[in-house]
């Protein structure tokens, strides 16, 4: 056991935090519904200025509120894997993007953190990684809220046993991907005229050639790419976490408490407890 040599951790009240999380979620939901309901007329005239502003601030602001609400509740062991997840997201996502793949692979770190450290840490990782990635690749910036949602859903799926069997993970990925695609499509259409990677643009072009409006084409592309993408990502993460040595994965309280992974009931081994 590592006993801190400093004063014991002071547990603050969780009231204002919950308010922040709720406000962030409400802001994101309101922005999304505004975009979906008010968008089509605005977009045909060449990218509404107000719409793209509302999109950027709604989703970024909502993401910031969420992160602000979640961060203080996280333990050190969760906090320490978050930079790792962020770096993995950006490194692999950037590679997949420059290879021109039709899928993004930019959520591996988010899903990994969500499985190991829980939905809250997953959501914060998703939002922060897109915010940081946005400094290198600005196209990622507006998708911060979508990435937070992916982390939240992946963590919730893990909590209820989607990763206890490897064959369940792809199905969870499909479901999460469908939700993620629906959320991401209006953002892509409003901010950048549905431009993604070269690979995803080809899919949008195919739907546009059939005469779909930009939002519809982006949604269909999102449903195609995102479901496939999350299916691959969830499978990959499931294979990854089972390949980890027990010491590495059982250091996380979330994994132990909810029996996220199959196998012998993990007993806390002296010297490996996360906190």
């Amino acid at each position: 056991m590592s006993s801190p040599l400093t004063l014991p951790l002071q547990r603050e009240t969780s009231r204002p935090r919950r308010a922040l999380i709720l406000a962030g979620g409400a802001l994101i939901a309101a922005t999304y519904f505004y975009l979906v309901l008010a968008q089509p007329a605005d977009l045909a005239g060449g990218g509404g200025s107000a719409a793209s502003l509302i999109c950027l601030f709604g989703f970024l602001g909502g993401g910031a509120l969420l992160v602000g609400g979640i961060l203080p509740t996280l333990t050190t062991s969760s906090l320490v894997v978050m930079p790792l997840g962020i770096a993995l997201n950006i490194a692999i996502g950037q590679t997949a993007g420059s290879l021109g793949l039709q899928i993004y692979l930019d959520a591996i770190g988010t899903v990994l953190v969500a499985v190991l450290a829980g939905p809250a840490a997953g959501a914060a990782t998703g939002a922060l990684s897109n915010a940081i990635w946005g400094l290198f690749n600005p196209l990622a910036l507006p998708f911060a809220a979508g990435a937070a949602l992916i982390g939240l859903l992946a963590g919730t799926a893990a909590k209820y046993g989607a990763f206890r069997r490897i064959y369940l993970a792809p199905f969870a990925g499909l479901a999460v991907g469908a939700v993620g695609g629906l959320v991401a499509a209006p953002i892509a259409a409003t901010m950048f005229g549905a431009a993604g990677t070269v690979g995803t643009n080809a899919i949008v072009a195919a739907f546009r050639a059939m005469g779909d409006s930009l939002l519809v084409a982006a949604t269909k592309q999102g449903l195609t790419s995102d479901t496939l993408d999350k299916l691959v990502v969830f499978t990959l993460v499931a294979l990854l976490v089972y390949a980890l040595p027990g010491r590495a994965r059982n250091q996380f309280p979330f994994v132990r408490r909810y029996r996220v992974l199959a196998g012998r009931a993990p007993t806390p081994v002296p010297g490996t407890s996360g906190e």
């Binding site: 196209l139 070269v198 546009r208």
Partner: protein
């Protein structure tokens, strides 16, 4: 090459972000082009590392600009003024205009933020955030993630080389997926083991205590810059409201 930096990184990042907001508010391709030529180009040239920034910009933005041009230039069903037509593809004036608007917007996004990021010193940014009393967990996650990035890339490269030495062939289809798994498993395992060691070190150094942090680096931020940041934000917010309220955006 020495990097030329005049302001605190926080000020520069905020200025870049506000520029992006202005481009979104005004929403005319002429304005985006003007910003690109009059602000971003000189900033890149004066940054002290124009070649690196130019190269990154080309790698990040050029494929997107090209594919966006093809996407909207050729497939824009709403367009009425047809310039040329080949089968399914129709080149329309409206499509090209939309492509220019979105393409220039992306170029300003990438140019402004990349220039600010690539000239910013990350330790200085982190120390400024600590001095300004930001949430220490947020500061840790941001600083640590940015610091880990090159480390992760280098480590992935080493592991790929090691696996190739053991006979891994990176091929297409399912083979590529297997290669991805063979590289990412040792990568993630190694990083997680490092992370658990870091947990113990951080705990032993009082990471979870709630007292005010001190930073080893001196504060390079000044009161004038702090005031300038607030003023810049205020001006942009007021301008945006006026611009949108008078309906000039249409």
């Amino acid at each position: 090459m020495p990097r030329r930096r005049i302001f605190n990184p926080l000020t520069e990042l905020l200025a870049a972000a506000l520029l992006v907001v202005l481009v979104l508010v005004i929403n005319r391709w002429q304005f985006s082009l003007a910003v690109l030529v009059a602000v971003i180009l000189p900033a890149v040239l004066l940054s002290g590392r124009p070649r690196r920034i130019g190269l990154t910009l080309t790698v990040v933005a050029a494929p997107l600009l090209l594919s966006s041009l093809v996407l909207h230039g050729l497939f824009f069903p709403e367009g009425t003024t047809v310039l040329a037509q080949w089968g399914f593809a129709r080149m329309t004036v409206e499509g090209l205009e939309f492509a220019a608007l979105m393409g220039l917007r992306m170029a300003v996004f990438a140019g402004a933020l990349l220039t600010a990021t690539m000239t910013a010193s990350i330790p200085e940014l982190v120390s400024t955030m600590t001095h300004r009393g930001w949430n220490r967990k947020l500061v840790f996650v941001i600083g640590s993630a940015v610091g880990l990035l090159p480390h992760v890339a280098a480590r992935a490269h080493h592991i790929l080389r090691a696996q190739q030495a053991r006979g891994l062939v990176v091929g297409g289809g399912l083979r590529r997926f297997k290669a991805l798994l063979m590289v990412s498993t040792p990568l993630v395992t190694g990083l997680l083991v490092d992370a658990s060691e870091r947990t113990h070190m951080l705990e032993a150094r009082g990471f979870s205590s709630t007292v005010r942090r001190t930073s080893y680096l001196p504060d390079t931020d000044s009161a004038a810059q702090r005031a300038a940041r607030w003023a810049m934000t205020g001006v942009v917010v007021v301008f945006s409201f006026l611009w949108l309220a008078t309906g000039a955006a249409k």
